[in-house]
């Protein structure tokens, strides 16, 4: 079956699901349309689970995320982008095929972490990071969005202080996102840079840019860890 036909079938199934008022679907996946990505992720980016895209600041991972979100949104669904770095540039998002009216961008107030310097390695997690992680969990668990992109720099080994003063490791906080993604059924993409921390993901891809364009490499699935590569 051709990819275009598969997409049509997928859209029809989605439409029937909505007509039947069925809860959010958490099976299947969304393809990116990028040959190098889809070749190493045959089922696409999973619904109801987290997929991690990691790479240097100019590697092309955000463009891949935009392509996936555009496909996941289709003609009617909503999507959310937790922009913890306050760097997402809307004109490029629109050029990438996303209807901006249906994309909720969440930018917690506060000092945005710098990128791509080594600030992500700071052990002190800033307020905006804490708020971004809270927003990611809330948005993922809401079930209102077909796709959610989380772009929050969390340093490995960082400790996060809640509003009530309790301290938890970043890994523990990130693990909660897995449950939220399962509950909400959205396709969740976690964007990370080398040296940062990520939640346990069902799909992990390292994106880099070579002279011939974007390159992709699968990484080991599962437990959050410092990804391969090096900080700028």
């Amino acid at each position: 079956m051709q990819p275009a036909q598969k997409q049509v079938l997928e859209d029809l199934r989605e439409r029937i699901r909505r007509l039947e008022r069925k809860p959010a679907r958490s099976s299947g996946g969304v393809e990116s349309g990028w040959g190098c990505i889809d070749a190493i992720a045959p089922g696409g980016f999973p619904r109801g689970a987290i997929a991690e895209l990691t790479g240097a600041p100019g590697s092309g991972k955000t463009a891949v995320a935009i392509a996936v979100v555009a496909r996941a949104m289709g003609e009617r669904s909503l999507a959310a982008w937790i922009d913890g770095r306050s760097e997402l540039y809307a004109p490029a998002v629109q050029i990438g095929g996303i209807d901006l009216e249906r994309l909720l961008i969440v930018r917690p107030a506060g000092e945005a972490p710098l990128s791509p310097s080594g600030s992500v390695l700071n052990r002190t997690v800033q307020a905006s990071v804490r708020q971004s992680l809270w927003a990611a969990e809330a948005v993922l668990g809401s079930g209102a969005f077909a796709a959610v992109v989380v772009d929050v720099p969390v340093a490995s080994g960082a400790r996060i202080t809640s509003d009530w003063g309790s301290v938890a490791s970043a890994e523990a906080v990130l693990r909660r996102l897995v449950g939220a993604a399962e509950k909400g059924g959205a396709t969740c993409i976690w964007l990370s840079e080398p040296g940062s921390c990520a939640p346990p993901a069902r799909l992990r891809i390292e994106v880099s840019r070579g002279r011939d364009g974007v390159r992709a490499r699968p990484l080991a699935r599962g437990v959050s860890a410092t990804v391969a590569g090096h900080a700028a």
Partner: protein
């Protein structure tokens, strides 16, 4: 022959003139009117507020000793509760007499402004039944019932009776008891409603007979005239209607003629439609200050019900509410509440209000709430397409409320493109609204094909946004055909290193990064009148950093890192 023809022509002309004169009369014939009277409106207002306030207080905290209430105006009792009547209080008593009869009596002064506000609220809710509602103060509303058959899908008096029942239900939902009557003309309908003779719709032919049984006071004639007519020994409307109209006209002038016509059931005066206020509000004073959310939400539900009914009557909704919490003993806290889409649904409002209130920290207990509509908009939430889910809208409302409560208003937004060349001003944040997506909002042309190219960088190579013709500044090729996916909020300084007149490396934060490739320049400049800029942008492939968006400031020649083609 000529004369005869002209005589015939004159006759036809005369007939046409008579027809023309008759036509407006037919058009101006009295309409069917539904009159809704709220008896003892002041008393009902006080009782309604007490009921709502009592619901917010736990049963064990109520003292169970409810004092009877009476309404006074200019030192005289004008209305009282049955309990007060059973203790000897009568309308017309002085307040001193009334309190002597009933020591526990609570005398409340009549508040015309508050009474009018109550009727205005009911009038707006009744607009769901008819577009024309007249405010007939002090206690009546007149609704155009001409289209009852259309509204109720029942013909004749059956449809009118159903319309009347719906009006009573609307009043009951607003916490009010009402009497109704349907008749031809506003005066007869009002008279029949006030005197409780409107238990069934009165056909036009029976209006005179129905009015004949009512006392003269039902016609609400001017006081002096009513006194003189009573002096003639007339006691009911039927007796007045039996008098020759010319006699009354001769004796009382135009007012006498109008009274004679009204007594005969002939009132051609049109309804004067009430025009709703721009931003309605509803308020509630709690019986006792509350410190927890549950009783507050309980009272708030009542307020929402009333406000939502008013908006629904207008056929509009709101996407912004303003909740003001009155603190005890003084002070006020304002809580703005944003909704994902315009709505006049209490359940959706409460969902958001509950989330919002959960995060509000108050210094004192709450003694009252005021809920105001911050913005009126066409309601679309209830008009869902087949494949739109109300649950999803509710989920969007809830998450927006949680984000606003936790992160502040404006933390969640939608980016709206702006026609400006300055990259950092190319879009602005606007409130997220879960609008029905239009078919025209399809992905940008050319992109779908581009993203299928394996391994390429399709997003950057996509076509420019259609219709985004710049209105400000200037740009040279390659124009806006590509833009970085990330834009730094503060450009970072770079030190350019070159060899033989060409750039070879960029130094960022003290680290040198080798340049692999360099695109042709794109020059952006403008805003000479305010904050001029003149930049030469290039896409630079940098070792270890990837694809960067770098510009050289023409004013000083310095290089800056402005974004990433990530």
């Amino acid at each position: 022959m000529q004369l005869e023809l002209s005589a015939i022509g004159a006759g036809e002309a005369r007939a046409r003139q008579v027809e023309r004169e008759a036509a407006p009369r037919r058009a101006a014939s009295p309409r069917r009117v539904l009159a809704i009277q709220v008896p003892d409106v002041s008393l009902q207002r006080i009782q309604r507020a007490r009921r709502a306030a009592a619901e917010t207080v736990a049963a064990e905290r109520r003292d169970g000793r409810e004092r009877p209430v009476a309404i006074a105006r200019e030192g005289r009792i004008v209305a009282c509760e049955p309990l007060a009547r059973s203790m000897g209080v009568r309308c017309g008593d002085s307040t001193v007499q009334a309190t002597a009869s009933c020591a526990q009596l609570e005398v409340i002064l009549q508040d015309d402004v508050a009474d009018r506000a109550l009727l205005v609220g009911l009038a707006e809710a009744l607009m769901s039944l008819s577009p024309v509602v007249e405010l007939a103060l002090p206690d009546t509303l007149l609704v155009d019932a001409s289209a009852a058959a259309v509204v109720t899908n029942r013909a004749g008096t059956e449809g009118e009776a159903l319309l009347a029942r719906r009006a009573v239900d609307v009043a009951a939902d607003m916490g009010l008891h009402a009497r109704v009557a349907v008749a031809t003309g506003r005066g007869p309908a009002r008279a029949l409603a006030r005197h409780g003779a409107g238990d069934r719709p009165i056909p036009s032919a029976e209006t005179r007979a129905a009015l004949a049984k009512l006392p003269l006071a039902a016609l609400e004639l001017p006081a002096a005239m009513a006194e003189r007519i009573a002096g003639l020994g007339l006691r009911d409307v039927g007796a007045l209607a039996a008098l020759p109209a010319e006699t009354l006209a001769h004796r009382f002038g135009p007012a006498g003629l109008a009274a004679a016509r009204l007594a005969s059931g002939d009132d051609p005066s049109p309804l004067v439609p009430y025009v709703p206020e721009a931003l309605p509000l509803e308020e509630l004073d709690l019986e006792a200050p509350v410190e927890t959310a549950e009783p507050l939400l309980f009272g708030l539900k009542r307020v929402c019900d009333r406000l939502a009914a008013r908006l629904a009557g207008r056929g509009v909704g709101t996407c912004r509410l303003v909740l003001r919490l009155r603190l005890d003993p003084r002070g006020e806290v304002e809580v703005p509440v944003a909704l994902a889409s315009p709505s006049a649904s209490t359940s959706r409002w409460m969902l958001v209000l509950r989330e919002r209130l959960a995060t509000v920290r108050l210094d004192a207990p709450v003694r009252g709430v005021v809920l105001t509509v911050g913005e009126v908009a066409a309601a679309s939430a209830e008009q869902l397409a087949l494949d739109e889910s109300p649950q999803q809208l509710a989920a969007v409302d809830a998450i927006l409320a949680r984000l606003a409560a936790r992160l502040g208003d404006g933390s969640g937004f939608v980016a709206e493109p702006v026609d400006r060349h300055r990259p950092e001003a190319a879009y602005r944040a606007v409130a997220f609204r879960a609008r029905r997506p239009s078919r025209s909002a399809a992905p940008v042309a050319g992109v779908a094909g581009a993203v299928t190219v394996a391994g390429a960088a399709p997003v950057e190579d996509a076509a420019p946004v259609a219709g985004a013709a710049p209105v400000e500044g200037a740009a040279t090729a390659p124009s806006a055909s590509y833009r970085p996916t990330r834009l730094l909020s503060r450009p970072r300084p770079l030190i350019a290193e070159g060899e033989g007149g060409r750039l070879t490396a960029l130094r960022l934060d003290g680290h040198a990064h080798r340049i692999l490739d360099l695109s042709p320049p794109e020059r952006l400049s403008g805003e000479w009148w305010a904050n001029p800029y003149d930049r030469e942008y290039r896409r630079v492939e940098v070792e270890t950093l990837g694809s960067c968006w770098v510009y050289r400031d023409a004013s000083d020649g310095r290089f800056w890192l402005h974004g990433f083609f990530d």
